[in-house]
């Protein structure tokens, strides 16, 4: 069973400590995005890395469109991963959509988690009356349309597809390897589930302590959204990083590490 889950979610386990810390990547990425963060935790933690089914090097054959039609499908995977690896009182670090996945898992099974660290969370990307999510419905429709019309999917952002630059193939290879490349159909489906979802009412259902790590400006999960998440958590804390962008774990790893460590200390 353990082997099956390792294959399904491409699970990697490193570190010398006993306290389990689970890192979950965001949309369109994979576990490689934690590579600047994990070294700082190797000494004291039992680090578990994985790829969501359909992302990175997970086993794509497990991608069930029905199951992953809501973030609850991914939350189920997180729970079964923790159970199969027999982890206890896990510290969950989720980026973007994975912070909501973590929240859903911890709401269902609070006994499995110690705390929830959410980097750039957003419970709902689309503006709704009073609520500011940062995007209009048409922005999201445009994204889905781009993914739909793109025969080559995500990778087509990197230009040398056909007309490109054959004498410099290592460049796009680096973009592909250092990050990842999704199956276009899955990318589209996951995008729909992520960006059209609305989990605002789930925020206050989680009983374990949670931390929101927010950057400014973050054009995907803006400050207003991070504050909204914080305000709706039962037991939440909020840290504004002195960093911009949506991926501080990639662009400002030291600050991200410091924020996580100071929260875990307290």
């Amino acid at each position: 069973m353990e082997k099956a889950i390792i294959n399904k979610n491409n699970v990697k386990r490193i570190g010398k400590g006993n306290q389990a810390i689970l890192f979950a990547h965001g949309y369109g990425c994979d576990q490689n995005m934690w590579r600047f963060i994990t070294p700082a935790f190797e000494e004291d933690y039992d680090i578990v890395l994985f790829d969501h089914v359909g992302s990175g090097n997970s086993n794509e054959s497990h991608y069930d469109y029905q199951k992953y039609n809501s973030l609850n499908g991914y939350a189920e995977d997180v729970i079964s991963l923790i159970e199969n690896l027999e982890l206890e009182k896990v510290i969950f670090v989720g980026h973007s959509v994975s912070s909501i996945i973590g929240l859903l898992a911890a709401t269902q099974r609070p006994d499995l988690f110690k705390s929830m660290i959410m980097i750039g969370p957003s419970p709902c990307y689309i503006n709704d009356e009073e609520y500011f999510g940062g995007f209009s419905k048409s922005d999201i429709d445009e994204l889905i349309e781009t993914l739909e019309s793109n025969y080559l999917g995500w990778s087509s952002f990197i230009t040398p597809i056909i007309v490109g630059n054959p004498d410099k193939p290592e460049f796009s290879k680096e973009l592909h390897n250092s990050f990842c490349n999704m199956n276009p159909d899955i990318a589209k489906h996951f995008a729909k589930v992520t960006f059209l979802g609305d989990n605002r009412l789930d925020l206050n259902k989680m009983s374990i302590p949670g931390l929101v790590i927010q950057c400014h400006p973050d054009t995907i999960s803006p400050v207003k959204v991070g504050k909204y998440v914080y305000n709706n958590l039962q037991n939440g804390e909020y840290m504004l990083l002195e960093a911009s962008g949506h991926c501080p774990h990639l662009t400002a790893p030291e600050k991200t590490i410091a924020a996580i460590k100071s929260y875990l200390k307290s």
């Binding site: 990197i158 054009t219 991926c247």
Partner: protein
């Protein structure tokens, strides 16, 4: 004509270059942008730009890509080039752009900025779309052809399989008629019944060959290690009668182990051995197997002293149901060698022949060295 002077002004070059330029802070705040790019985006310099950061020029997908890939790479490498993103301008203005980014920090006390160059690639994109469409069509056609082939093979298999049963019945009835002495021996009727038997046998042979041909699959996942000497022995076992009747001599050296499907490789040797006997010359058949290896594959040769094949006919013999005029008197279906070709190809090799009339033939084929 009057000669005129031209002096290049750097500011004018920046503003009106046939290229878009902008400079942003780490936060995405735009601190400089040239007129060319403003025109492309259909923005007014003053009012609009105060309220816009670089990420506002991107759609949602582009934003995620920019944040999770471009920015980290830019920090790591100092520059990122040839990124293809669609830029959003005023209203519905959209254009595909090829973008280069460069990190600039002249002095550690200076603010870190990113210089960005933008090339409008609408035309290239259209061209690319056509290429992608053509490729997609080609792929779809290839897949359809593959499917048609699979269906045809299944049809051939089912048809030949189902034809076998009534044929067996006819054969039994003819045998029964003879056994029960229902026809007078050596009479006209007996001769007609013999013709029925001969033709039933021919049909049976043909059906068996068809069945054999259509059941060759291209499936390397079923490969197992195969001792070719065992295969040769099995093949000769099935030809026992012909070998004895023709007093054929087979010289088979120690052969290597290969990866393959046993039953198919058995058929391959069986067909080649049987041809060496069937298409014999006056002399008693002598068949010699030899082999050699290169880094990646083995070459096997099966040499006979048979009737040989004319140069111009040599290409034809591997064709499906192709038979040579010279061999019309020898019974056969024209499927054996095309089966051999399929088997060898399904194993990742190639097959061929060297021959001359009256000088025998050497059939050779390659098989990859198993890893």
């Amino acid at each position: 004509m009057e000669q005129r002077n031209y002096t290049e002004h750097t500011e004018d070059l920046y503003q009106n270059a046939p290229f878009g330029y902008l400079t942003i802070l780490v936060t995405g705040e735009i601190i400089n942008i040239n007129n060319t790019l403003l025109n492309w985006l259909d923005f007014e310099r003053d009012e609009t730009l105060k309220n816009i950061i670089f990420q506002d020029l991107l759609g949602v997908g582009e934003k995620i890509f920019f944040e999770s890939r471009v920015m980290p790479l830019l920090q790591m490498q100092g520059e990122v080039s040839e990124i293809n993103l669609e830029l959003k301008g005023k209203g519905t203005v959209r254009f595909p752009a090829l973008i280069n980014f460069k990190k600039i920090q002249r002095d550690p006390t200076d603010a870190l900025v990113y210089r960005i160059s933008v090339l409008d690639i609408t035309q290239r994109k259209n061209f690319e779309k056509e290429l992608i469409k053509a490729r997609k069509e080609a792929e779809e056609n290839a897949n359809r052809l593959k499917q048609i082939n699979v269906d045809l093979e299944r049809f051939a298999y089912i048809a030949s399989h189902d034809l076998k049963a009534p044929l067996n019945t006819i054969e039994s009835i003819v045998a029964l008629i003879k056994d029960e002495n229902l026809v007078e021996p050596n009479g006209d009727r007996d001769e007609l019944f013999s013709l029925i038997t001969v033709n039933t046998n021919r049909m049976k042979m043909m059906i068996n060959d068809l069945l054999e041909y259509s059941s060759i699959e291209d499936n390397s996942s079923k490969f197992e290690p195969i001792h070719l000497n065992e295969i040769c022995l099995e093949a000769l076992g099935t030809l026992d009668e012909a070998v004895r009747k023709n007093q054929a001599i087979f010289n088979i050296p120690e052969l290597p182990e290969v990866a393959g499907i046993k039953i198919q490789l058995e058929r391959l040797f069986q067909n080649l051995f049987s041809n060496a006997i069937k298409y014999r010359s006056e002399a008693d058949p002598i068949v010699t197997v030899s082999w050699e290896k290169t880094d990646t594959y083995y070459t096997f040769r099966i040499k006979d002293n048979g009737m040989g094949i004319e140069q111009k006919e040599q290409n034809k013999i591997f064709g499906f149901m192709e038979r040579l005029n010279t061999s019309k008197t020898i019974s056969g279906t024209g499927i054996g060698l095309s089966s051999c070709k399929r088997i060898v190809e399904a194993h990742g090799g190639t097959i061929g022949v060297t021959s001359a009339p009256g000088k025998g033939s050497t059939f050779y084929f390659t098989l990859p060295i198993k890893r």
